[in-house]
């Protein structure tokens, strides 16, 4: 049973740890690093509740091995708030009721965070396409779209 020493930088903090080859990145984050904001919702890479940014790209952390993240940067929902200031997306989800049970929310936030860094003024269609790998059962998606549009507008003003 091979184990590896890896260094994964999460939200700017490097973590040195020893992991089994088969350890999934999502379990590294949740169980070892106790960053439980990233969630697990399925076992077939469909639901996207586990979405994190890997070197800035949104990926499903249940389908990435922890060893693949060695030497790389991971961003999770816990890293969105900076110095007590919420990210405009977090504000948008709050303002526009873009969440109900909150379980898919971290995944939605990370995916849309990446979206807004690439597309500053996404249309409703762009947003729906971007989050098509993130399932939500509670909201019917309407208000998630509104939340992202709110954030885009806020970020546009702040730019």
């Amino acid at each position: 049973m091979a184990t590896h020493e890896i260094r994964v930088t999460v939200n700017g903090t490097p973590y040195d740890t020893q992991v089994e080859s088969r350890l999934l990145l999502v379990h590294l984050l949740r169980d070892q690093l106790r960053l439980t904001g990233t969630h697990i919702g399925c076992d077939t890479t469909h639901c996207g509740a586990c979405t994190v940014l890997l070197d800035g790209q949104p990926v499903k952390s249940c389908t990435v091995l922890a060893v693949q993240a060695d030497g790389r940067q991971v961003s999770t929902v816990e890293g969105l708030e900076k110095d007590g200031k919420l990210h405009p997306l977090q504000e948008g989800f709050w303002e526009k009721h873009g969440l109900q049970c909150g379980y898919c929310t971290p995944g939605m936030l990370m995916t849309t965070c990446a979206l807004l860094s690439k597309n500053k003024a996404p249309s409703e269609g762009d947003i729906r396409d971007a989050i098509s790998g993130n399932l939500c059962r509670c909201t019917g998606y309407n208000n998630i779209v509104k939340a992202v549009q709110y954030a885009a507008e806020r970020m546009g003003k702040e730019a």
Partner: protein, 290 residues
């Protein structure tokens, strides 16, 4: 959703990777994007003793046109293909294809090499590569082999890639002027495999007739299906509604779908026909015809 144990290797060069593959043979698998392999391992539907991660090897991700070929590195991410301006402008069939693979998150990890090498008839690139007349470059301990795409898919989850080879490059001939292509996929929802999909790439002559056409189908057989009879029929003819309709009929006849929750044999075959006709129509439009 927890894989059985395996050993993991992250070689820094291709020769190292190939040496590991030679060493472990059937007990090793290549980890590229991992978006097909890891789900299998997590469900314990596949087993492997050794995962050879080619993700640390430089020089395997690129998209460039040179010397009459579009060359794509085997480890190029689907999202990179989707975002590529060259591909969007000059290979719309490939842009269509990249856009409908799984979902945007999976596309950030999934690679074109993996999509081809996995041998899953449900994967989308194979049909498109057949329509484009592509070649696959397999690199092994003894060097490179160039495999024409029609010889690459051997059966269900079986390709011409040997256990000690890595798919390092895809080569697509730069289409001549008056060329167009399209990939149309019928799926039950975003992220699904195709109920059926059709890839059409053609070049029109100055007289408006079809000079060359590549037609292939996704997920309606144990491998991607090259609609050779349909191609033969359409070559040299004008792509009007009647001829396109007949080509689509012939393409459907080449399909041998299996029934599953996506559809019955009859429905899938008919969808192959409908999608082929629509893909041809769109390809013709994009080629500047009509």
């Amino acid at each position: 959703m927890i894989p059985a144990s395996f050993d993991y290797h992250a070689p820094g060069t291709l020769p190292e990777a190939l040496a590991l593959l030679s060493r472990y043979g059937d007990d090793a698998k290549v980890l590229s994007g991992g978006q097909s392999l890891l789900p299998l391992l997590k469900l314990r539907l596949g087993q492997t003793g050794h995962l050879i991660d080619i993700g640390r090897i430089p020089g395997l991700e690129y998209v460039r046109e040179e010397a009459g070929l579009l060359r794509i590195g085997g480890r190029t991410r689907e999202s990179a293909l989707e975002a590529s301006e060259v591909i969007r402008a000059r290979y719309p069939i490939l842009h269509d294809t990249a856009k409908v693979i799984a979902d945007p998150l999976v596309r950030n990890m999934a690679t074109i090499g993996g999509n081809l090498a996995h041998g899953d008839p449900g994967n989308d690139h194979p049909a498109t590569m057949i329509a484009l007349g592509a070649q696959v470059v397999a690199t092994g301990p003894k060097g490179e082999r160039v495999i024409p795409i029609e010889q690459f898919f051997l059966g269900l989850f079986r390709t011409a890639l040997r256990p000690d080879e890595v798919l390092t490059e895809i080569r697509i001939p730069v289409p001549p002027a008056r060329s167009g292509g399209a990939y149309l996929k019928l799926e039950r929802k975003v992220g699904d495999y195709a109920t059926a999909a059709a890839a059409a790439q053609l070049t029109l002559g100055s007289d408006g007739a079809v000079e060359r056409v590549g037609l292939a189908l996704t997920n309606v057989g144990p491998t991607p299906i090259k609609a050779a009879d349909a191609e033969k029929f359409l070559t040299g003819k004008r792509p009007d509604a009647a001829n396109v309709g007949e080509a689509a009929q012939r393409a459907a006849r080449a399909a041998s779908p299996s029934a599953d929750r996506r559809g019955s044999v009859e429905y899938k075959r008919e969808m192959a026909r409908v999608l082929t006709a629509r893909a041809l129509k769109l390809a013709v439009e994009r080629a500047g015809g009509r």
